[in-house]
C-alpha cells in the first residue's frame, strides 16, 4: 500500500479522506469567518463588495470636476489647471474616461482632449490640464474614473455598536442573567443528586424517574402558566412581573433536571467504600456530602456549569417571555433578534453585534472544551 500520489506518501483513499474532511471543515467555518471579517470592514466597503474580497483592493467609480476659475497662468505663456481628484489617502486611479458609459477608456497617465484642454490624470489622482489660450471662467468639465481602495480594517463598527446601539448595556444584562442562573441550580442540584445516589427514602425510584421524564419536557409547556403566575404575583404585590429574580428562578428550574441527572450519575459512581467508611467514622450524610463528595464532584459540577452557562447565555425564548425589552433588561440575543428586524440591512451593525454576543461563549468553549465534551458524553451516552 505504499503507492505515492503527487510524490507524497499518500494513497488515493487517504487523499480522499483529507479532501473530504477539508471540504466539510471549510463549509463549517466559512460562515463564521465571513461574519468576523465583515465586522472589521469599513461599512461602505462591506455593502459594496463581498467579504472574501476584503484582502484585495476594491474598486469604486467616482467623478471629479474641473473648474475654469481655478486656472492659473504659467511663465511660458500657457494656461494650466491642476488638482487632485482623490481625497482619501492610499487610493489610486485604475482608469478614467470622459463619458459615464465608458469609464475605462483611458489608462492613468494618458493625455486626452477634455473640452479643448490637454488633460492628463495620473495614477496618484493628480491631474494637469493645459491650454495655449486662457481658460474661460465658466469652464467646467467632468471626468469619470475608477479608483482602487486598499483593504482597510477598522474597529469603528464595534465602537459604534458599543457606544450608540446599546450593545454594551445588553452585554451587562446578559451577564446579570447568566451568572446567578448558572450558580443557583448547581448547589440545589448537587444536594438532590447526593440524596438520589446515596440516601434511602421512600419513592426514590419514582422521584428520579420523574426527573428523567422532565429532562425532555419542552419548556414551551411551562411558559403560559408561569407567565400568568408572574403576572398574578406582580399584580397582587404591586411589583413588576418581569424581574431578574424571575428569570433566574426560571432558568434554574429548566436546568435542574439535567443537573440532577448528570450529578446523580457522577456522584452515584463514586466508590462506595469511601462513603461508607466515612459514615462508620461517625460522619453524617451532611458531613460526607460537604467534605467528601462535593470536592470530588468538581469535574461534574464544571461540566454542568459550562452547559448551563452556554444555554442561558444563548437563550432567546425564556428571555423574551420573562424579561422586558427596555434597555435595563434586554439581553444580547433579544437585542440581536430585534436588530435583524429593524436594522436588517445595516450589516456593519449586525455583524459586529453578533460577534460581541458570541465572543464570550466561544472563549468559554475553547478554554473548557474538555469539560464540555465530558458533560455531553455523560448526559447522552449513558442516559437519553
Amino acid at each position: 500500500m505504499n503507492r505515492r500520489v503527487f510524490g507524497l506518501p499518500l494513497t488515493w483513499g487517504k487523499l480522499l479522506v483529507h479532501l473530504g474532511l477539508a471540504a466539510i471543515v471549510i463549509v463549517w467555518t466559512v460562515p463564521t469567518l465571513g461574519l468576523f471579517v465583515s465586522s472589521l470592514r469599513d461599512k461602505d466597503q462591506l455593502i459594496t463588495s463581498g467579504w472574501w474580497t476584503a484582502l484585495t483592493a476594491s474598486e469604486q467609480t467616482a467623478a471629479g470636476r474641473l473648474l475654469g476659475r481655478d486656472a492659473e497662468a504659467t511663465d511660458d505663456g500657457r494656461y494650466v489647471l491642476r488638482g487632485d481628484v482623490l481625497e482619501a489617502e492610499g487610493r489610486s486611479i485604475v482608469a478614467f474616461g470622459l463619458d459615464q458609459t465608458d469609464l475605462r477608456a483611458h489608462a492613468p497617465g494618458d493625455t486626452v482632449d477634455l473640452g479643448g484642454l490637454a488633460f492628463t490624470l495620473n495614477e496618484d489622482g493628480t491631474y494637469v490640464a493645459t491650454s495655449d489660450t486662457p481658460i474661460p471662467e465658466d469652464y467646467r468639465e467632468r471626468v469619470f474614473y475608477v479608483e482602487a481602495i486598499p483593504p482597510t480594517f477598522t474597529l469603528a463598527n464595534y465602537r459604534e455598536v458599543l457606544a450608540s446601539e446599546g450593545i454594551d448595556r445588553a452585554f451587562i444584562n446578559t451577564f446579570t442573567v447568566t451568572i446567578p442562573a448558572t450558580v443557583i441550580p448547581i448547589l440545589i442540584a448537587a444536594f438532590a443528586a447526593y440524596a438520589f445516589a446515596w440516601m434511602k427514602f421512600p419513592g426514590r425510584q419514582l422521584f428520579f424517574a420523574i426527573v428523567v421524564g422532565l429532562l425532555v419536557v419542552p419548556l414551551q409547556m411551562s411558559l403560559i402558566p408561569l407567565l400568568r403566575m408572574y403576572n398574578d404575583i406582580g399584580a397582587a404585590f404591586g411589583v413588576p412581573s418581569k424581574t431578574y429574580l424571575g428569570i433566574w428562578l426560571a432558568h434554574t428550574a429548566f436546568g435542574l433536571p439535567l443537573a440532577v441527572y448528570l450529578l446523580r450519575n457522577y456522584i452515584g459512581g463514586l466508590p462506595r467504600d469511601i462513603i461508607e467508611s466515612a459514615q462508620l467514622d461517625g460522619a453524617s450524610h451532611f458531613d460526607v456530602f460537604t467534605r467528601l463528595v462535593l470536592p470530588l464532584s468538581i469535574p461534574a459540577l464544571a461540566s454542568f456549569a459550562i452547559f448551563q452557562f452556554l444555554w442561558v447565555w444563548n437563550d432567546l425564548l425564556v428571555a423574551l417571555v420573562f424579561l422586558g425589552k427596555g434597555e435595563d433588561q434586554i439581553v444580547l440575543t433579544s437585542k440581536l433578534r430585534e436588530m435583524l428586524g429593524s436594522r436588517g440591512d445595516n450589516w456593519e451593525i449586525l455583524t459586529s453585534s453578533a460577534f460581541v454576543s458570541i465572543l464570550v461563549p466561544l472563549m468559554v468553549f475553547f478554554a473548557l472544551q474538555r469539560y464540555f465534551v465530558r458533560g455531553l458524553l455523560a448526559g447522552s451516552v449513558k442516559g437519553g
Partner: protein, 337 residues
C-alpha cells in the same frame, strides 16, 4: 450600569448565601432537634434512624419545590388552559383543539415541523458520523473536530445572523455580498432572495440547525467509535472485507444504540425549534413552526392562552414517546444495578 453589575454580584452572593444557610441551617436544626439523648432510666437512645428518615427530604426540598412549581404544575395547568378561552377564564370545551386542526397557520407549522424532524436529525447524524470517521484517520483530526464542534457554542440567534449574511441578496446586476448568491452568480445563475423562496427557504433554515448540531453528533459518535473493539475490525479485514463493508457491517451495528441516542436528542431540539425561525423569518413565507406559532399566540392581540396551550401540548405529545422510552430504559438500568 455599575449599580446593575453590583446588584448581579450581590444576587450571586445572596443566592449562595441563602442556599448555604438553608442546607447548613436545616441540617443543624435536625441534628439538634432529633439529637441522641438519655432516657429517664439512663439508657442511651440513638435517634439516628429518625434523622436518617428526615434528612433526604432536607436535601431534596429545594429541587423538588422548584421542579414542582416550574415544570410539573405547568404541565397540568397547560393541559387545563387548553380547554379555556383567550385569558384562561372561560371554559370553551374543545374549541381550541378544533381551531388548531382547522387553522392554516398551525397546519403549515405542523408540516414544517415534520420536515424539520425528517431532515435535521438525519443530516446532523450523518455528517457527525462522517466527520468522526474521517477525523480519526488524519493527523489534523483534532483541529478539524474542534472547528466543526465550534458552532455548538454559538447561540441560535447568533447563528441566524451568520447565515442570514450567507443568504444575503442584492438585486441582479449589483455585486452580491452574500456568499451563496455570489457562488450562484459565479456559476452563471440568477441571484435569489433565498429566505423568501417557498418551500426551499425551510431547508435553508434547517441548514443552520444542522450546522450547529453536527458537532454534537460528532463528539458523541466519535467516543462510540473509539469503543468499537479493534479485534472485530481486524477479523473482518482478514476475512477480506473492504473498508466500506467493515464500516457498514461491523462498525455501524456496534454503535447503533449511540446513533439512536444522538438521533433522539437532536429530535427533541428540533421539536422545540424557535430561535432560528423567530430571528430569520418570524414564520413568514411559509416557514412557521409550532414553537414560534405558540410564542406568537401568547402575545398576539393581547395573547390567546388557550390556543397557545394547545400548540404547546402538540409539541409535548410528540415528545411523550421519547420520554416513555427514556424512563423505561432508566428503570431497566436500575434493575441491573
Amino acid at each position: 450600569m455599575i449599580e446593575q453589575v453590583l446588584s448581579a454580584l450581590l444576587a450571586v452572593v445572596a443566592a449562595i448565601g441563602a442556599s448555604v444557610t438553608y442546607f447548613y441551617g436545616s441540617n443543624w436544626l435536625l441534628d439538634r432537634l432529633v439529637a441522641d439523648r438519655r432516657a429517664p432510666d439512663g439508657t442511651y437512645v440513638s435517634r439516628q434512624r429518625a434523622r436518617d428518615a428526615v434528612r433526604p427530604w432536607l436535601f431534596l426540598a429545594p429541587a423538588l419545590l422548584v421542579l414542582g412549581v416550574y415544570l410539573v404544575y405547568p404541565v397540568v395547568e397547560t393541559l387545563r388552559l387548553s380547554f379555556f378561552g383567550s385569558n384562561g377564564d372561560t371554559f370553551v370545551g374543545a374549541a381550541n383543539w378544533t381551531w388548531a386542526v382547522q387553522n392554516e397557520g398551525v397546519r403549515t407549522a405542523v408540516r414544517n415541523n415534520v420536515l424539520w424532524l425528517l431532515v435535521v436529525p438525519s443530516l446532523s447524524t450523518v455528517f457527525g458520523l462522517l466527520v468522526a470517521t474521517l477525523a480519526d484517520r488524519v493527523a489534523w483530526g483534532n483541529v478539524a473536530k474542534s472547528l466543526v464542534f465550534m458552532p455548538m457554542a454559538i447561540s441560535f440567534v447568533g447563528a441566524s445572523v451568520i447565515w442570514k449574511f450567507v443568504y444575503d441578496y442584492r438585486g441582479a446586476g449589483s455585486e452580491q455580498i452574500g456568499i451563496l448568491n455570489a457562488v450562484v452568480v459565479a456559476l452563471g445563475g440568477e441571484p435569489q432572495a433565498w429566505i423568501t423562496v417557498e418551500p426551499w427557504n425551510n431547508f435553508l433554515l434547517m441548514v443552520i440547525l444542522v450546522w450547529i448540531q453536527t458537532g454534537f453528533a460528532m463528539v458523541i459518535l466519535s467516543a462510540a467509535l473509539r469503543g468499537v473493539p479493534e479485534e472485530t475490525i481486524e477479523a473482518a479485514r482478514i476475512d477480506g472485507a473492504s473498508d466500506v463493508a467493515v464500516f457498514f457491517r461491523i462498525i455501524i451495528p456496534q454503535i447503533f444504540s449511540t446513533i439512536l441516542v444522538v438521533w433522539t436528542t437532536i429530535t427533541i431540539v428540533v421539536l422545540k425549534i424557535f430561535d432560528i425561525v423567530a430571528a430569520m423569518t418570524n414564520g413568514q413565507w411559509g416557514t412557521e413552526v409550532l414553537a414560534n406559532a405558540m410564542y406568537n399566540w401568547m402575545f398576539r392581540g393581547g395573547g390567546h392562552f388557550g390556543r397557545g396551550s394547545v400548540i404547546a401540548l402538540m409539541i409535548m405529545i410528540a415528545v411523550i414517546p421519547i420520554m416513555a422510552y427514556n424512563i423505561r430504559r432508566f428503570r431497566e438500568e436500575e434493575a441491573r444495578r
